[in-house]
């Protein structure tokens, strides 16, 4: 098990990343709290060392996505909620940002994952393929379809 110092460091470095992934999947505050803690618990229990900070971050992203997916397997949580249900602190997001995030969170998991990783985290399709353990071409396809879907949702505004 990792030390308290390592736990604090991981929270300081990756809390926002994990929270954003939770945001895309979960809108109930108690679910977010459970998953957030669960992801970092898995981190301190993971006894292998990471090759680099980038490797560590990619590991946490994959764990966060998988943990959220597992949570959603529950029948009660399969319905995607509106981001209006979200926690008070996130309600301060501007209306246009809120609408965009709402559309992204409504996308199927595979599409919202690639949108987040590509447009926010700045990973390439090849890097995303490694993180999600998928074929490169699969990621290209998902990215393309995710863009199309989001464009349609946003009333035809192109996404580059």
């Amino acid at each position: 098990m990792r030390s308290e110092v390592e736990a604090n460091r991981a929270i300081a470095l990756y809390a926002d990343t994990v929270r954003r992934i939770c945001f895309m999947y979960l809108k109930n505050h108690s679910d977010v709290e459970d998953i957030f803690q669960d992801v970092f618990l898995k981190y301190i229990l993971y006894e292998h060392s990471f090759e680099s900070d980038a490797h560590e971050k990619a590991w946490l992203i994959r764990v966060a996505i998988n943990t959220c997916k597992d949570e959603l397997k529950s029948l009660f949580r399969k319905k995607v909620h509106s981001i209006e249900d979200v926690t008070p602190e996130l309600c301060c997001i501007q209306e246009n940002d809120q609408e965009l995030l709402d559309h992204i969170s409504r996308l199927p998991p595979k599409y919202k994952n690639v949108i987040y990783l590509f447009y926010y985290e700045g990973y390439t399709a090849v890097e995303i393929a490694k993180i999600l353990k998928k074929n490169d071409n699969t990621i290209y396809t998902w990215l393309s379809r995710a863009r199309e879907k989001l464009k349609k949702e946003l009333g035809g505004e192109p996404i580059e």
Binding site: I11, A15, R20, Q37, C92, Y120, E160
Partner: protein
């Protein structure tokens, strides 16, 4: 649009309360784990100590249970010795002749009380025709605890009387205490104290008899031989009352 997505996600941050709560949760888990890790030797030592204690208690109990404390020798012919522990349980049943071995082949009297064992043996002896109406049942008790000796004699006499009554048998009974010395000498000659005493008594009356020849006779026959000698030389009747050797 690229920037819009980036800017929108950039507005999402982990709440301070969430981070603090998670840090507290993780710290607690780490502390719990550290406590467990700090005392692995203590746990192993405790486990070994418990095991050792159980082993010692088990050993002492085993030793107490299987230490002979009294000996009950039964002679009808068959001849059998019961080794009794301090709890009054039979820990060993030893035959002194073939008939005794035959009886013990069919029944087990181990781990039951000595009076119940005697009752069981009387049942078997009556059933197998060894003890009949004109038979003689001799039972000797040897223990170094004087108080216990008296108690055992009373319990055995009562158990024998009840058992014979149940079988409607009027066989003569002789329940008596013997010393450790007598029992040791009897065992050296591979016989019960009753047989040993009878042969010794006979030898005093007739020095020509020897143990080997006398062992072929039943106790009742030996008693008769003693009675005959007494009648010839002293004109005394044999007394089958309680005696102590």
């Amino acid at each position: 649009m690229n920037n819009m997505i980036h800017n929108a996600f950039d507005k999402i941050h982990a709440e301070d309360a969430l981070k603090q709560k998670t840090a507290d949760f993780l710290h607690e888990r780490i502390r719990q784990q550290n406590v467990k890790r700090k005392n692995p030797h203590l746990r192993i030592v405790a486990a070994f100590a418990s095991f050792a204690l159980l082993f010692i208690i088990g050993g002492i109990s085993h030793n107490l249970y299987f230490t002979p404390s009294a000996y009950v020798d039964i002679d009808v012919n068959p001849s059998i010795e019961l080794v009794v522990n301090r709890f009054g349980r039979v820990i060993k049943a030893e035959p002194y002749n073939d008939d005794g071995a035959a009886i013990l082949e069919d029944i087990s009297v181990r781990h039951i009380s000595y009076d119940a064992a005697v009752d069981t043996l009387i049942d078997a002896m009556v059933s197998n025709g060894y003890l009949n109406q004109d038979g003689l049942l001799s039972v000797s008790v040897q223990t170094n605890d004087g108080e216990r000796k008296s108690s055992m004699l009373g319990i055995l006499q009562s158990a024998i009387d009840n058992s014979l009554q149940e079988h409607h048998t009027n066989a003569a009974t002789d329940v008596f205490p013997v010393s450790e010395d007598i029992r040791t000498h009897a065992h050296k000659n591979h016989m019960t104290p009753a047989m040993y005493l009878a042969i010794s008594e006979l030898q005093q009356l007739d020095p020509t008899v020897n143990f080997e020849d006398c062992q072929k006779h039943t106790l009742k026959e030996l008693k008769q031989m003693i009675q005959d000698h007494n009648g010839q030389h002293h004109n005394k009747n044999h007394n089958e009352g309680k005696r102590a050797y």
